[in-house]
Point group: C2
Chain length 371, copies 2
């Protein structure tokens, strides 16, 4: 047991009733460096790749957090270290169930994740909650920015909540999240939630990295859909209608029937699973455990019919190609010669002064000439 | 009037009752070159870019077809000419309504397109029918391969039917189709149909190049969905339930109700349009004209609220980026050094021997080193 372990145990002492400081935030300027120093007994030192990996495999969440910070860093030297850590963690990864959870703001995602998470912990699970929110730079942390949102979960030693990497392109954020999954799995987390706001482009990315995709909705069909992007519903393995409590129950039940009828018209999923619609109340913890039972049923079924592992393999391949494509684009769009020209061409295309294809060709010629 | 015009007029002579040879197939080896020579009075000569453009702007479909053949050609010199033609046609393009039509094989797309097309022609429209079918190389022309499928339409001088460019990647085929739209519009076609089989990846591409997206379905909800890809339904501006005739009428009406209820649960479209569900019988030409009225209503509404032109501009921009990305990928994946390595890395990723991100990084390093 080293100081990191000690730190963890103090914070997770059941007697400790104060607001928890989430592990890993020590590196953020908001934490008083002196306090951290005193607490840790020494100045934060650089770890070697092997120390990182060892710490992660021991389930040390502080080291895990520091490694995730490396993943999220834009500094090339951090990226290099991060890639080495990931490479060494890959053999220990993959043994979790990855659950994507989406829903518009107001659908009660945090409360739902808390309620569902507590059931998982009660059953002996270890849960990591991650988020994809490429918009967070603009909105300054619309999602998971405030870790105290999940007070109960963040007080649990078997739960690890990591806010969304702040900012960056969707491709970049998705990559970082996917790499974080690997580290979390290597650290022994057997359940990974990936939370996303159902209003952007990120759902396809999340869908491509999870085993089960859950859409959280509210009763009162129609209104709450204003925010949900089209196409998301067809990706869902299940819809959970949340806040089915009090005067809402009847409305929620009606919505359930309507969605069930609607889903019935959808083409079958590749997994052979028929998407379900359930109601629940995260606040009163009703129906939440049933959602978990359903997910277990799904996992059992798709493990038996081979879809689970096939899908995982296909996802890995998909992400290899996605990373390549993402990097090729990065190289082009961040090329100093191109950046300036791009705006000009974009304008010409928008004004129908040239075709999109000619603009593309001209820009590419310039790019490959300069490489 | 030149020989091409003469040729066109003979073929479109109302007295001519034989099976029509579609314009533009002269370049294919299946046409007897001697007969063509005799018929044209001279050996087919190369046209200059200006001759192409002039011919297209005059509405000469034979020249249009030859230009499209240039677009579809993989020869760099043809591509160069094609790009010049497109550049000169762009100022004359854009003035059509572009309609995407999708549906599984068996939904009756050809018959529907014929019926709808004849209404458009009766109203004085000029119609071009194109197709996207990246799978056609494998299936040897599963779509529009046989032009006689649309016998009535292909006998009309104001209709131009062009088979799908055979083969190529989706990105390539989509680009070619989009370029063909520009030429067709410059040639005076005011209505463009883009047909696609609703089973592949091409629907998103089609959706990104049309003003209105129509999904053709059959009654008997459930069975016929087996083939439709998930996500397509949410792209549709309308669903037309075809073959609503004879004993099918009741079933079609029930399906209409079910789909209406289902669409009601979908989030609203960006256009402000509420997707409709209609029934029709292409065979007996019932309800088909109503579909056209609906599309006109949509065009009127979206022109008034500004969505129509906004969407067009966004699509152009989208296609500029798409072409760039497509070309960047082409360059990478067809690079001789990469092609061989890629398989190795793919295998490693599939077997979880390395992470997708590390594989991507290694491949990219090799690529940029060699450039």
């Amino acid at each position: 047991m080293d100081v990191w372990d000690g730190h963890k145990h103090v914070e997770n002492d059941p007697a400790y009733k104060g607001l928890n400081v989430n592990k890993g935030v020590e590196s953020l300027p908001s934490v008083n460096p002196d306090a951290a120093k005193r607490f840790l007994g020494r100045k934060r030192s650089k770890l070697t790749v092997d120390q990182y990996v060892e710490g992660i495999l021991e389930g040390n969440v502080t080291i895990l957090s520091r490694a995730v910070t490396m993943i999220e860093s834009s500094k090339p030297e951090h990226q290099e270290v991060a890639q080495q850590i990931i490479e060494k963690c890959v053999p220990y990864a993959g043994k979790s169930v990855r659950l994507g959870i989406t829903g518009v703001p107001g659908a009660g995602k945090s409360t739902f994740i808390e309620a569902l998470g507590m059931h998982i912990l009660k059953r002996g699970g270890k849960l990591a909650v991650l988020a994809i929110d490429p918009s967070s730079e603009r909105s300054r942390g619309s999602i998971l920015g405030d870790k105290t949102r999940m007070e109960k979960l963040s007080a649990e030693k078997n739960a690890y909540i990591r806010p969304s990497p702040s900012a960056g392109s969707l491709g970049g954020v998705a990559r970082k999240t996917r790499e974080t999954i690997i580290l979390c799995e290597a650290a022994g987390f057997d359940t990974i939630f990936i939370e996303t706001v159902g209003v952007g482009q990120s759902e396809t990315a999340v869908h491509s990295m999870v085993d089960f995709f859950l859409l959280l909705m509210l009763a009162g069909a129609g209104d709450e859909l204003q925010g949900i992007k089209r196409g998301i519903m067809e990706m869902a393995d299940a819809i959970a209608i949340n806040k089915a409590d009090g005067q809402n129950i009847q409305k929620a039940k009606m919505a359930r029937t309507e969605y069930r009828n609607a889903l019935h018209l959808f083409p079958p999923t590749q997994s052979g699973w028929t998407p379900r619609v359930e109601i629940c109340s995260s606040l009163f913890d009703e129906g939440v455990e049933d959602v978990w039972e359903m997910i277990l049923e799904y996992v059992k079924m798709t493990r038996e019919n081979g879809y689970f592992s096939n899908n995982r393999r296909e996802q890995s391949k998909y992400w290899m190609f996605e990373s390549i494509n993402e990097q090729l684009k990065n190289n082009f769009y961040h090329h100093p010669e191109i950046k300036g020209e791009l705006k000009q061409y974009e304008k010409k295309v928008l004004n129908a002064e040239t075709s999109s294809f000619i603009a593309a060709r001209d820009l590419l010629n310039k790019y490959f000439d300069k490489l």
